[in-house]
């Protein structure tokens, strides 16, 4: 339990970086490292590492162009749909499932091994099969998102609910809480930190599911941007598309992470 909790804690308590104690602002160095990477990229592209390796400047130019001519807007509008719906469905369903598993020993017995196995498995392999059941439309992509996001959301919710501090449970018992009161006023608030962490991780997995669906099942949205531009050998635009999804995903997840720390940090310190 200690190490599992450590890992979960390391995921949750992980700030974007450890802030330096010195007077030097960490962002100076970080921006510096970004510039360094961009410079190396430019040099690599110019030196002709591969015909498929565009220069940094070309990629950034393509990026700007794609923003300007609305390519990104259109692509993300398409990708966002299944992603949003999928994460929402999985969020609600997954948290409920984790809740039930955390509260009911029978549900835990039935569900926990299953989700642990699903979590460890390369369920991405199932994505190509989805078309047989859901075709190549919206539903298929939603399913891909759900498939990848569900285990982590369920397991984190379960852990949040099942590991309520004993001290608080005892206190609620001492003050005569009914079962329902205990769940609603103690168990759920105490677990909400991990539940939120699960949702954050689920979003990250959801992005993977959405992209995978678009690369494998049906070319739409951002996935299509990548595949199409590769097929016409327009590498700057391809790399720009990849860069964009990396940025969008990490920014969204970081925003959630900051939110999480603001909402739940004091409790973690106390726990």
């Amino acid at each position: 339990m200690t190490v599992a909790a450590t890992t979960v804690a390391s995921r949750v308590g992980r700030t974007a970086a450890v802030t330096g104690r010195g007077a030097r602002n960490p962002w100076v160095l970080r921006v510096g490292s970004i510039l360094l990477v961009l410079a190396l990229w430019e040099w690599g592209g110019t030196a002709g590492v591969s015909i498929a390796f565009p220069k940094c400047s070309e990629t950034l130019a393509a990026f700007a162009a794609m923003v300007a001519d609305g390519t990104f807007a259109a692509a993300y509008a398409e990708t966002a749909g299944p992603l949003f719906v999928g994460v929402l469905l999985t969020g609600v369903g997954g948290v409920l499932a984790g809740l039930v598993m955390g509260l009911s020993p029978r549900a835990e017995w039935m569900g926990l091994p299953l989700f642990i196995v699903l979590q460890a498995s390369p369920s991405a392999a199932i994505v190509p099969l989805i078309t047989f059941v859901y075709g190549i439309g919206f539903a298929a992509k939603v399913f891909a998102v759900v498939l990848l996001a569900a285990p982590v959301i369920v397991l984190n919710s379960y852990r949040g609910i099942a590991h309520t501090p004993r001290s608080l449970l005892e206190m609620s018992n001492a003050f005569l809480a009914s079962r329902w009161q205990r769940v609603w006023k103690i168990v759920i608030p105490a677990g909400s930190g991990l539940i939120f962490a699960g949702l954050r991780l689920g979003l990250a997995q959801g992005f993977t599911g959405a992209v995978l669906a678009e690369l494998i099942i049906t070319p739409t949205g951002v996935g299509d941007l990548i595949t199409y531009n590769r097929s016409v050998a327009d590498y700057p635009r391809m790399f720009a598309a990849i860069l964009s999804i990396i940025l969008v995903a990490s920014v969204s997840v970081t925003v959630l992470q900051r939110l999480e720390q603001r909402l739940f940090r004091p409790e973690m310190r106390l726990a």
Partner: protein, 270 residues
């Protein structure tokens, strides 16, 4: 976790001052693995007084307290409150936890009002009552603070306010000052005494500090080493009319501390 019910037919006669507020009879507690913590604990808890339980580490003081509170089930024996046997937690007893057990996501006021909240007391009313007790424990300025913003001693006072707010007959306190600084501890002991005399409560108090026990208690129950029994019940009867410093230096006080110390020593050596 025990889902307990109190078997109280009618409100017991509380005005008779000589009936004990509570009593434990022949409490035995075995833990899994065949460890017997307590082997027949019997003592009375006189009404309106502060009784403390003291004994060597592991003698089952906290377990006894929790059995009386109804949070732990005894293997055998019984607990009576106001003459009626009880088997689980009840509105007649309120518990103050050693590790405070405050909800980190709730303000001081909400934590203090929690016992009332669970009883379904309407919000306005329970907040008023909680406010009063939060003020009595000296935290009036911190009503809207969160536990992580408070020191250990302050958190413990919130726990005390919560226990007082439900107006139970008996207050059960589990080493309430163990996690508090030494300097503040003495202040707290005095504050507690003052508060309790105002509220006229019956208190059962577990501590491992002999000085604390002698200072605050009307009655001290001394337990033997585990599997424990009641070794002795003494009434220090320290004269509190003088200032607290003079009490702690008085020969009477020091004698009692010495006496109880040697009583406990004899168990530690065997």
């Amino acid at each position: 976790m025990t889902d307990g019910t109190t078997s109280r037919a009618a409100t017991a006669d509380r005005t008779a001052d000589d009936t004990p507020a509570a009593r434990v009879v022949d409490l035995v507690k075995d833990f899994s693995g065949g460890v017997r913590a307590m082997d027949g604990i019997t003592f009375d808890i006189p009404r309106g007084e502060l009784t403390s339980i003291i004994g060597p580490s592991g003698c089952g003081k906290t377990t006894t307290l929790k059995i009386i509170a109804g949070l732990v089930e005894a293997t055998s024996g019984r607990v009576e409150v106001n003459g009626v046997q009880v088997a689980g937690p009840g509105p007649d007893r309120a518990f103050v936890f050693q590790d405070f057990a405050l909800m980190p996501w709730a303000t001081v006021l909400r934590n203090a009002a929690f016992g009332l909240e669970l009883r379904g007391v309407p919000r306005k009313e329970r907040e008023e009552i909680a406010k009063e007790y939060v003020g009595k424990v000296g935290l009036a300025r911190f009503e809207n603070s969160y536990p992580h913003q408070l020191s250990g001693g302050m958190r413990q006072r919130v726990g005390l306010a919560r226990a007082l707010a439900v107006d139970a007959d008996i207050l059960l306190m589990d080493e309430p000052f163990a996690s508090v600084d030494e300097q503040i501890r003495r202040r707290f002991q005095e504050d507690l005494l003052r508060l309790l005399s105002d509220e006229k409560k019956t208190v059962l108090f577990v501590t491992h500090s002999i000085e604390e026990a002698v200072y605050v208690s009307d009655q001290v129950v001394i337990l033997t080493r585990g599997p424990s029994r009641v070794s002795k019940v003494v009434r220090p009867g320290v004269d509190r009319s003088g200032g607290s410093d003079s009490i702690r230096r008085s020969p009477e006080y020091l004698d009692w501390v010495e006496q109880i110390w040697s009583e406990l020593q004899s168990y530690l050596e065997t």
